[in-house]
Symmetry: C2
């Protein structure tokens, strides 16, 4: 009986979320994020509804204006009548309440807009944290009828690469004078960008950064050979140049669809997601092993020099 009632609740919530009810969307994301008992039910209910939204990852070093740019993009997308979801993910810190609150404040412009869903999400633990939870939240926003979902990393990412893995299109933000080309190359973000944006274009050095970026991007080997990542200038605080970013994002989506790359990217994403969920399950089984296969016992033996980490890992896997 209880299960039936819950199933009814979830189906009802999904129906209301599809109808555009913000509280239903929020509740579904909470069920996903809190790993509630209904999580699997929610996931199953969303399955036939997802795959329509264009997922856009927004990444860049601290200080480039990610939050402001996200907000400006929301404004521009809303002006086109598109429904927009925003997922702000902080994968690094479990202590991120304050920082996320800061971002929420910056997003207040959109708080009363019924066509916008905004959600902050802190990472829960390490393994499977971001890679297991964020995709579920994105599925909720997708199923709820968002045309575009912006995924913003808050802070220095658990890795920009991981965020890129969540998105169809990855927007890499830079700012003038944030470090030379070598530093940017180090960050490993040049390879993952589908659209590059030099924000704070009203500052000195914006054109130089764009030129430098152009020469580095031109040298990057890309699997998706046909797409040439544009490098745009914006001033997110005034909105200057943001419409061009929206156009570039839309162009990239069209390109992905035409080339078949959209399906390839999404297959790779689902594959990673399934694997992350399976490994999270295995990891929780490891935590419950007993006797000489207890992780604590094995760790003490390695530290005492009685065994080595590989032999200890073998013991764990054997006892699964």
């Amino acid at each position: 009986m209880t299960t039936d009632r819950r199933a009814g609740d979830v189906a009802d919530l999904v129906e209301r979320a599809r109808g555009g009810e913000p509280r239903a969307v929020a509740r579904l994301i909470s069920l996903v994020e809190d790993r509630s008992p209904q999580l699997r039910e929610v996931s199953a209910a969303l399955t036939p509804l997802v795959g329509r939204a264009h997922l856009v990852g927004i990444t860049g070093s601290p200080g480039v204006g990610k939050s402001t740019s996200t907000s400006a993009l929301v404004t521009a997308l809303r002006a086109q009548g598109r429904r927009v979801g925003v997922l702000a993910v902080d994968p690094t810190s479990p202590f991120s309440g304050g920082a996320l609150l800061g971002d929420r404040v910056r997003m207040q412009d959109h708080a009363l807009d019924e066509g916008v869903y905004i959600r902050s999400m802190a990472s829960r633990g390490h393994l499977g944290g971001l890679s297991a939870t964020a995709p579920q939240a994105l599925r909720v926003l997708d199923a709820a009828g968002c045309d575009v979902v912006l995924v913003e990393t808050v802070g220095v990412g658990q890795s920009e690469v991981e965020i890129a893995g969540l998105a169809d299109t990855t927007l890499v933000l830079l700012a003038p004078g944030m470090g030379d080309g070598i530093q940017a190359a180090k960050a490993g973000i040049l390879e993952i960008g589908d659209v590059f944006v030099v924000n704070k274009a009203d500052r000195e050095g914006a054109q130089a950064t764009r030129r430098e970026l152009r020469s580095v991007v031109a040298m990057t080997d890309r699997v998706d050979g046909a797409w040439k990542p544009p490098i745009l200038l914006t001033t997110a605080t005034t909105g200057d140049g943001v419409d061009d970013v929206v156009t570039a994002i839309t162009d990239h989506h069209d390109h992905l669809e035409r080339s078949g790359e959209l399906t390839r990217r999404r297959l790779a994403r689902v594959r990673r997601e399934i694997e992350a969920l399976a490994l999270a399950e295995v990891s929780s089984r490891f935590a419950h092993l007993s006797g000489d296969a207890r992780l604590d016992t094995l760790s003490e033996r390695v530290l005492a020099g009685e065994t080595d980490p590989f032999a200890a890992a073998d013991r764990l896997v054997e006892h699964l």
Copy 2:
């Protein structure tokens, strides 16, 4: 016979590495990094020799001067007669050859010093990459008799937190004007720092950054309550202030030993390492499943809306 010969080779290599032969150290790290068939043998041979080195993680945003600071620390530690290992890890990019080369160039001062081992390491794949390979390389440097091993992240880290997990002591580098306190808090690095260094102290704003940092650090809850992280000023290019950093690192090590925290940190580290190795093994088993438990097949079914990621993950785990 082959196994015996190999075992002999490994034992011989380990002996020569302990004797301070740089080529033997380099060869052992390569065996570890390339996941050679002898990897387990190497790991077993190192087991009784490790645990003496003080592992110091060095982290910070791009542009704060990590490489220069690492080099200056090597100079200061060598002046005290200590043997030093340096592991420069790039966890984000598989395309990092150039960036790593850049760092090697900066470390050239120490290339001919027999008391210094320098090694760059790019991450190999995602799961278990950094967390499985870097600890093995650190064990080699430890077993080879390094008194201190500096672990430097190259680029925006896969997460500063992960590097902190590899080290006994974590050094967080900042620079004047790299962003306000909120940005630093976002990066999640304030919670993990044992020693904070404001580098480029000759630039404007260094004292202000230090003051701001001091007030934020003072608010941070720390499990390791007794240690108050010092906030130091350096100019790594001239070496100014670097001796104080060495003193702070040494003080922190003494504190860790006295408080029993060193053992706790190392136990937690070994635990994560064992788990990462075990999960990497499980992951490779997932990749070899066949029939309807093939990851590709499951991914296609999820994308087609026929099943959901959780049900697909269950299928994987069932077939282990």
